[in-house]
């Protein structure tokens, strides 16, 4: 009897210690499953940046191939550092300056999150690095709009300023818990993985930059042909693979919502790619490889904001609509004659807007029920949500357009943004890097 009593006392002490071990030090236990998937996603999103470098690199002339690839690579350097120093704090800290961006002194140099574990059971370092990859790829996307004609130095300063003044505030509004777009309407403006933050902002900024800087020398009279579509196709493939980290990782979990996002991503990419080559076959008579790659991107971009809320049939329709509208946008661009060199606006801008708006029609019923329950009068229709989405899109467009214009305008006063005519003719590789991308290939 005594022994039993002693045992149970021991057991209760042990239990007490265990329990206090769990809660007293306010350390959430690490969920290894979620953490493993988030680590994988972080690596997958990073893989998209070399993918983007290859995609863009293949589309320019051979004299600019390294310069264009460097536009993506140098972002991995500059933005990674900025993100650790202030970017994460500005994006995910609490509101300062009336919520224009966030700040948390623990996030400065990430010095206070050494042992933090998020509610989802993921070390905060992982979440911070995962989000950091988004911050890297966004300015790198803009480079497509002014490919082949900017100085390397000005580009580096531009993406640093853009990241601080456009990306971080926008990211804070849309994704931080106290961001004002995150709290618009009963369940917020829907931007699952970065339709407004990444694609609309990059596309619109690209358009503003392309219009401000003017076209490449000889455009559109001189034929400007891609130097290597093979690396472009490889790049598009890497982007598709990486996008699973981008979208499915954005669930910050490893469960049902991850699976839903993953499926929507695959369906939309396939639907976008197929519809692009079908449209092209009717319009131009041939199904091109570059068309297929463009369709993949259009579909992926459109499903990015939607991946968490649409079911496969919705993703399919989003992919088709995105390809139709992006294809049309590029035809219109050719008519208007402005030089968005690699169609950063045509694909990312238009695709992002299509996704952010049209997703309202395909939201899964359970989400709508939750939104209705959370709303003041207990009802919530797709038209209500469409209104919220439209507000978010318009704010993103207006804000990025104005800020990008101001940044380029001021930067251009200090450092010449556009390459000189001689530098442009000699090519970015020779002028700014002193190297050549290929050995002895014929000039293109």
């Amino acid at each position: 009897m005594k022994i039993i009593w002693k045992r149970s006392l021991l057991l209760s002490i042990m239990l007490f210690l265990c329990v206090t071990g769990l809660y007293a030090s306010d350390d959430t236990p690490i969920d290894t499953g979620v953490t493993a998937w988030m680590l994988t996603s972080t690596a997958l999103v990073l893989l998209m940046i070399p993918g983007l470098a290859m995609f863009y690199g293949g589309l320019v002339r051979s004299k600019n191939v390294l310069g264009t690839i460097m536009h993506s690579y140098v972002a991995m350097g500059i933005i990674s550092i900025l993100w650790v120093v202030v970017g994460y704090s500005m994006s995910f800290g609490s509101n300062v300056l009336g919520g224009f961006f966030g700040w948390n002194k623990d996030y400065f140099f990430l010095k206070g999150i050494d042992t933090n574990v998020l509610e989802a059971g993921v070390p905060e370092y992982v979440f911070s690095m995962f989000q950091g990859k988004f911050a890297i790829i966004t300015p790198a996307l803009i480079a497509g709009a002014f490919a082949e004609r900017v100085t390397f130095k000005a580009y580096c300063i531009f993406i640093a300023l853009w990241s601080l003044l456009v990306y971080n505030p926008l990211c804070h509004w849309v994704w931080a818990a106290d961001g004002f777009l995150f709290n618009l309407g009963p369940k917020g403006a829907i931007d699952f993985a970065g339709g407004t933050v990444v694609h609309i902002s990059a596309g619109i900024s690209g358009l503003v930059a392309a219009l401000y800087l003017g076209s490449r020398r000889g455009y559109p009279y001189q034929v400007i042909r891609p130097n290597n579509l093979v690396i472009t196709m490889l790049g598009a493939g890497l982007l598709w693979v990486g996008w699973f980290g981008f979208n499915a990782g954005s669930s910050i979990s490893s469960g049902l919502s991850t699976a839903q996002a993953l499926t929507a991503t695959q369906v939309a990419a396939a639907a976008g790619a197929l519809s692009w080559i079908i449209i092209e076959s009717f319009h131009q008579g041939k199904a091109t490889a570059l068309g297929f790659a463009s369709g993949i991107l259009a579909g992926l971009v459109a499903v990015t904001p939607a991946a968490g809320v649409v079911q496969p049939y919705g993703a399919l329709i989003l992919g088709i609509v995105a390809s139709m509208l992006c294809y049309t946008a590029i035809q219109v661009k050719n008519r208007l004659g402005y030089d968005d060199s690699l169609d950063a606006f045509g694909i990312h801008g238009i695709g992002g807007i299509v996704g952010a708006l049209f997703l309202s029609f395909f939201i899964r019923p359970s989400w709508m029920k939750e939104a209705a329950a959370a709303s003041s009068d207990g009802t919530w229709t797709i038209w209500n949500q469409l209104g919220i989405q439209a507000i978010a899109v318009i704010i993103a467009i207006g804000f990025t357009a104005v800020m990008t214009f101001i940044i380029i305008f001021l930067l251009n006063k200090v450092v010449k943004f556009k390459a000189s005519e001689d530098d442009e003719m000699a090519g970015l590789d020779r002028s700014y890097h002193g190297e050549r991308g290929y050995g002895m290939l014929n000039p293109s």
Binding site: K63, R217, G218, D422, M425, A426, G427, R430, H433, G434, E435, R436, M440, L441, N442, P443
Partner: protein, 114 residues
């Protein structure tokens, strides 16, 4: 008939082409070649300066009727020179007699085939 072969700097290709098109000389063949004359250039690889033995150049070949030789040569001279008065490495122009020219499609020969 003459065959004009010009060896020029890679970076001047756009300017030379534009000058030739402006002079209405549009039938040209361009290839990437390497060689060396008096010029030395430097390239950078991993922070090391390298002076290649063979320097990449562009070769342009143009077959013309005798009346067009001067126009073509002037266009190339004007556009291939760098730094205003020209510098070492701007290249050379060779003019050689052309015995025959045949258009494959029609079998035409001589001046009309050019």
């Amino acid at each position: 008939m003459k065959l004009i072969t010009a060896i020029i700097r890679e970076v001047q290709l756009d300017r030379v082409r534009e000058a030739l098109i402006a002079a209405e000389i549009t039938r040209i063949t361009v290839s990437r070649v390497s060689g060396h004359g008096q010029q030395r250039i430097e390239e950078m690889y991993r922070g090391q300066r390298i002076v290649p033995d063979l320097i990449p150049k562009i070769r342009i070949e143009i077959a013309v009727n005798d009346g067009f030789v001067d126009i073509t040569v002037d266009a190339i001279l004007k556009s291939a020179r760098t730094n205003g008065s020209g510098s070492v490495g701007d290249g050379k122009i060779f003019i050689t007699p052309l015995e025959e020219c045949i258009r494959i499609r029609t079998g035409e020969r001589g001046g009309t085939a050019i």
